[in-house]
């Protein structure tokens, strides 16, 4: 198995003394799904945002798809990584002035320099996969949250990425809209997509993930397979967190 993400001792501090990331090391192999859990402010978003260069870090080393980045944040390498890594955000972040299909074809046409017709054809295929091809001509504001998030997934897939990052993809959705997004993500995992997912969805983590990584105050507390993590977590801090989640 080829490792897709290798992080070694990532450390980042926003202000002196307060660490967003504290010696974080992890490995994600090809075709695997890593779920990152933890209380808010534990640094999980910061962690996955370093994977495509949206966040810098102060110390440590990162190897994404064989491209090595360090704290110097080499712009060229970051660009190379971004062309091969897709990201889905909590607030969807679709471009409101572009139609759904234009949102999806934007990067293939402008970054990969593919022909528009070809990009549109593939975009329609992706929208079809996501079950929203009837909305192709609409604008993001005309869609529900769940639909927008599926568009965002299609947009990330349009670059044919080798790694997908999800930053709390269902946290901004109505409860009854969460499943349509989670189902789309499940299908992607079944197709063998390598994914790193920050989420609070225990069901998704149990069914889909290969590893669960639990963070608190910038540190990795434990990394376990989901069956162990959810039934018999090794650390007291993880068990406390899971108890809190269960109460909701």
């Amino acid at each position: 198995m080829e490792p897709v993400v290798v992080a070694k001792n990532l450390t980042k501090s926003y202000t002196k003394g307060l660490r967003a990331l504290d010696n974080v090391s992890l490995t994600v192999n090809q075709g695997k799904v890593l779920v990152v859990m933890g209380p808010s402010g534990s640094g999980k978003s910061t962690l996955i945002r370093t994977f495509n260069g949206l966040e810098t870090f102060d110390k440590g080393e990162l190897n994404i798809l064989g491209i090595k980045v360090d704290s110097t944040h080499d712009e060229k390498k970051i660009q190379k990584i971004r062309r091969r890594v897709g990201m889905v955000f909590q607030q969807f972040n679709l471009f409101p002035h572009l139609s759904i299909l234009e949102n999806i074809t934007l990067a293939p046409v402008n970054v990969q320099k593919r022909r528009r017709a070809e990009a549109e054809e593939y975009g329609m295929y992706l929208l079809n996969q996501m079950g929203i091809d009837s909305h192709a001509k609409k604008y993001p504001s005309q869609l529900s949250g769940g639909e927008q998030q599926r568009v965002a997934i299609a947009r990330a897939l349009a670059l044919k990425p080798e790694l997908l990052l999800f930053d709390e993809p269902t946290s901004a959705l109505d409860p009854e809209r969460i499943n349509e997004v989670l189902d789309a993500m499940r299908r992607l995992a079944e197709q063998g997509m390598t994914m790193v997912v920050v989420t609070h969805e225990i069901g998704f983590a149990k069914d889909v993930s290969d590893q669960v990584l639990f963070m608190d105050s910038g540190k990795v507390i434990e990394t376990s397979p989901p069956n162990i993590f959810f039934s018999n977590a090794r650390h007291e801090r993880s068990r406390k967190f899971l108890n809190q989640l269960d109460k909701h």
């Binding site: 260069g53 949206l54 660009q79 971004r82 897709g86 972040n93 970054v111």
Partner: protein, 339 residues
């Protein structure tokens, strides 16, 4: 019938509910009717509208040679037709897509029709005038100041301190100088600075001065638009691998323009009215034509007629501009991309 009774009852309730209200209402109704009566009497019986009717071509074209007047006339008619098509035309997609291009194309077309050359007899810009010149000044200055304003706004947001400071300095200075001073600078000082032999005609000096001035204001409007775009838009674009230039061109500017559109409309209507300042500086645009007609002994003393007429023309053109802008805004919010 019931409607009239209803209105009557309503009036009684709102205007004559008690004694003091009735008195105040009566006084105001009296004043308003007197004003209206006098205005209408003046408009219809007292005013001598020959000063307007006999000079209509002058108001429209200034001293453009009479047998070439069809050229500016064609241009104004095209502009008018384009406005009507934009507002009331069918919503076919190809039509809407080409409308924006047509609007921009009217400016070179207007310049060609006025200047001549390529088959048309050339006409010097000092013969241009009237409404034609007013519209030309507005259109050219708006078209030039928009890109300049966008560049200034982007520079003001730049992370390079030198560029950012220079742009801020320029914008602050331009906003601290009255427009009339900038126009004086354009008309009187630019010829002194230019090397001997190079001459920029007066119309272009005016357009240049207007552009310098208005672009500073436009830059601030667009900066407001840029600042209201959430940072997450840039993050999303970044994560898709778009580079800095593409993000500005594809994500930031289209959104900033849409947000700034009402303010930009304001600027162009203001610009249209401010072109009348050029009358003081010797261009015979719409107001200039009015002044020169008043200087004619035949029409001496007929200020009110001329200025009422000019006010109506300015009002009409401004209304058309405002309606067009509102239409553009609506289309942008419904259909967010097409004109």
């Amino acid at each position: 019938m019931t409607l009239i009774i209803f209105l009557f009852q309503r009036l009684r309730k709102t205007l004559f509910s008690n004694l003091s209200n009735s008195i105040i209402s009566l006084i105001f109704i009296l004043i308003i009717s007197l004003v209206c009566l006098n205005t209408f009497r003046w408009l219809i019986f007292k005013a001598n509208w020959t000063v307007v009717t006999s000079n209509l071509p002058l108001y429209a074209f200034g001293s453009f040679p009479p047998n070439e007047r069809w050229r500016p006339a064609t241009w104004i008619i095209i502009l008018f037709l384009l406005s009507i098509i934009t507002l009331f035309g069918p919503g076919w997609k190809w039509l809407r897509k080409n409308l924006l291009i047509s609007w921009v194309a009217t400016i070179p077309l207007g310049l060609y029709l006025l200047y001549g050359g390529f088959g048309l007899s050339p006409i010097m810009s000092r013969h241009w005038g009237g409404l034609t010149l007013t519209i030309l000044l507005t259109a050219c200055s708006s078209l030039l100041s928009l890109p300049l304003g966008i560049i200034l706004a982007l520079f003001r947001q730049s992370s390079l301190p030198l560029i950012q400071k220079l742009s801020s300095f320029y914008i602050d200075v331009m906003r601290a100088i009255p427009l009339i001073a900038v126009l004086f600078f354009g008309q009187l000082l630019i010829p002194l600075f230019l090397p001997v032999g190079i001459e920029v005609d007066r119309v272009w000096r005016a357009i240049f001065a207007f552009t310098l001035f208005v672009s500073a204001y436009i830059a601030e409007d667009i900066r407001g638009g840029l600042q209201s775009i959430p940072r997450t838009q840039i993050e999303a674009a970044n994560s898709l691998g778009l580079n800095q230039f593409q993000i500005i061109q594809l994500i930031l500017i289209p959104q900033a323009l849409r947000i700034a559109l009402p303010a930009l409309t304001n600027q162009s209507i203001g610009l249209f009215q401010n072109t009348s300042l050029m009358a003081i500086l010797g261009l015979v645009e719409l107001l200039g034509v009015g002044r020169s007609i008043l200087a004619n002994p035949e029409f001496i003393g007929q200020y009110i007629e001329v200025y009422v007429w000019l006010a109506c023309v300015y009002w009409m053109v401004c209304t058309i501009m405002a309606v067009l802008a509102r239409h553009l805004e609506q289309r942008m919010t419904i259909n967010q991309a097409n004109f």
